[in-house]
């Protein structure tokens, strides 16, 4: 567990990096305990340690935009009540810290270690309660894929495409492709509604149905299209381009050979 993934410096000062590294190293021991033994992890002392580490990370990396007290500023929204799930999603997929202003936060390489993300999440959740990081039992992909697929088509496919290939939104925003997204992040996204995605709370889509959706997405990932290469699941546009470029292209090349005089 003693991963020493150096955070990308980005726009932060070298001093911040140093502080970050120190914190990361200091956290390792506690985090190790947290992840291995549930009994010890529950102890308040360790928890408090995590929250403290999280606060330091927050001040160093997030407070510029979200404010020292999480109330938000002009450049970043308030994080009061967003919960651990939201932090885990935003930081755990690399969307936060934001690299540059744009239509929406992009997915990019994660900037913190798992323990640091955990600490940040605990800290934000300690300020005001919010959606928790989901239980492992919902993330296994052992649900009902058919139910999941139907709920996915009704609630998700209009933005993310029926096969999870993603799609366009207004003003340069887009719904990202879901292939390769970890189950925990899919669940957290539904729960918290990151950025422009609507919130699908447990009263809308129950935890069991969220697990079913994850089951369906895992099914798609584990079972490639029975018809052959799927051309990105982009629908008839990709198929049309394919037949014009490769289908008709090959046929025209053959007609040239066919009508050329033999030497």
């Amino acid at each position: 567990m003693s991963k020493k993934r150096t955070a990308k410096t980005g726009r932060r000062s070298p001093l911040a990096t140093l502080a970050l590294l120190t914190v990361g190293l200091a956290t390792t021991g506690g985090a190790y305990a947290l992840f291995t033994g549930t009994a010890t992890a529950e102890t308040t002392a360790v928890h408090q340690q995590l929250v403290d580490d999280g606060e330091k990370l927050f001040v160093a990396n997030c407070a510029t935009c979200h404010g020292m007290d999480l109330e938000g500023t002009e450049t970043g929204p308030s994080l009061v009540g967003v919960g651990a799930a939201s932090v885990d999603f935003q930081v755990g997929t690399g969307r936060m810290p934001l690299q540059q202003q744009g239509p929406q936060a992009e997915e990019k390489p994660v900037q913190f270690t798992e323990e640091q993300v955990q600490a940040l999440a605990e800290y934000v959740a300690s300020i005001a309660p919010g959606p928790e990081i989901p239980e492992e039992e919902y993330l296994t992909g052992k649900g009902d894929a058919a139910v999941g697929a139907e709920i996915f088509r009704i609630n998700c496919a209009m933005c993310h495409n029926v096969a999870g290939a993603g799609g366009a939104l207004t003003e340069g925003k887009y719904a990202p492709a879901l292939t390769g997204t970890e189950a925990v992040h899919v669940y957290e996204a539904m729960l918290t509604g990151p950025q422009n995605m609507p919130v699908f709370n447990d009263a809308n889509i129950s935890p069991e149905d969220k697990a079913n959706i994850i089951t369906y997405l895992k099914y798609l990932e584990e079972n490639p299209s029975p018809g052959g290469f799927d051309l990105g699941n982009l629908g008839p546009v990709a198929e049309g381009l394919f037949i014009w470029i490769f289908g008709l292209g090959a046929i025209v090349a053959i007609t040239v050979w066919l009508t050329a005089k033999s030497n």
């Binding site: 088509r153 496919a157 096969a163 029975p226 289908g247 008709l248 053959i254």
Partner: protein, 564 residues
Amino acid sequence: MTTTAPQAPATPVQSEPQLPPTRGQRFTGAAANYIDERTSISGLVKELGRKIFPDHWSFMLGEVALYSFVVILLSGTFLTFFFQASMAEVEYEGSYVPLKGIEMSVAYASSLDISFEVRGGMLMRQVHHWAALLFIASIGLHMLRVFFTGAFRKPREINWVVGFILFILAMGEGFTGYSLPDDLLSGNGLRIIDGMVKGFPVIGTWTSYLLFGGEFPGTDVVGRFYTLHILLLPAILLALIGVHLVLLVVNKHTQFAAPGATNDNVVGVPIMPVFAAKAGGFFFIVFGVLTLIASFFTINPIWNYGPYDPSPVSAGTQPDWYIGFADGALRLVPPGWEFVLFGYTVSMNILAPVAVLGLFIVVVMLYPFFEAWLTGDKREHHIADRPRNNPTRTAIGAAGVTFYAVLWAAASSDLIGTHFRLAIEHVIWGLQALLFIGPVVAFIVTKRVCIGLQKRDREIALHGFESGRIVRLPGGEYIEVHQQLDEYERWKLVAYNDYQPLMLRPNKKGRITLNQRARAVATRWFFEDRIAPVTQSELAAAHAHGDHHGELEGSNPSQGAISH
């Protein structure tokens, strides 16, 4: 029909020793005799067996369409044995896990069964769909070839119209087929059709009601489209393909200008045996390529879309490529084009694109008649133009292709947005502007490029290629040696028809008719900056000039040849 061989006899006459016929020969002879005594087929064989077809790759495109159609018929027949065109509700019990237990129509369930339960069913479905895409794509390319080479001119105007109707019918076949699986994608496609039909003044609401057998989606439309798809439309298509081919035989194929190839002959290979082998072999090649694509590339994964349900929709909901231009036209309409007149709702956001598309289609269909009217040329034309030798027509074609391409691109505005990191609003605005600017730019650029190529052709025909070899003359002058063309190469550059603007003269009654004025304007626009083909005297002059001075300075060859 006279068939002669140029230069050398085509079939070397060999005096074969007279042998008694073998058993096989005796059987063939007897069988042929049996059939001919009952059908008189020998006349047909005599008439057609040695007909000549010119060889050029672009002349094979129509065959690609024909063969794709045969592949569609074969694979489609297989599919009909398993497909059930019913919209009755069933619970899916097949093997595809993410749909188990879901309520769906029988049509969708049977399409899934074809894909998942029937061995080779997936292959046939994919062959059928890929072949359909290739069918319409090859018709499109074939039409472009005919247009850009002027092969629609007399006596082939009617065959152009027949081919054009085939293109429209093919799109109808495509759309009805796209709707049959009754999945979410095709259902939303039908819903768009329903919305468009409802937008028609006076008859719209009732037309939609009759089409769907009640309110959308109803339980009838798949069955009705199935009848259209496998009976009515194919029957008309087949009949018109017959007409198209009969007219092809009657008119004989066009050919490109080549040494020995004139407006009065056809040079090429005979049906028996070379063309039959090539064309027959090509059928298997087209079939093989389609099967290869279908073996390895998914098309229309209906299992992803799920059964039709009016509530969901998938991002990236698009029609197949050939309906794309119509979908794109709908997308490009700016907001607010709808109003209420005397209590009736007039949906210009639907009528305007439909009118534009209708006009575009009619213009394409009637173009041969426009050009015939404009030139007043009543001669038969069997020599295909090189596109550059009719710059204005080629430019019109390029403008039309650009217009179509912009509409087509608009149908994937969302994918353009996500893949090129653009906002869809900007994509739409850009394409709206391009729809008007694009064709104009394409027209001007194409025309200039054609005239430039013509000028170069003329230069080369008169003076030959620059060989890059510099020679010093005895007088101290340096010249570059030009490599002259031989007469066969030159012929390809100079053999084209020349036209000039109409000069207005009063007719016998001493009047200038409106028709003549219109023709004068049209011909001026068409032909005013034409480049005339090199004449014998120009060639002689150039050679005399070249003999004296070499070609270093060039002698402004186009001077005097460009008529204004």
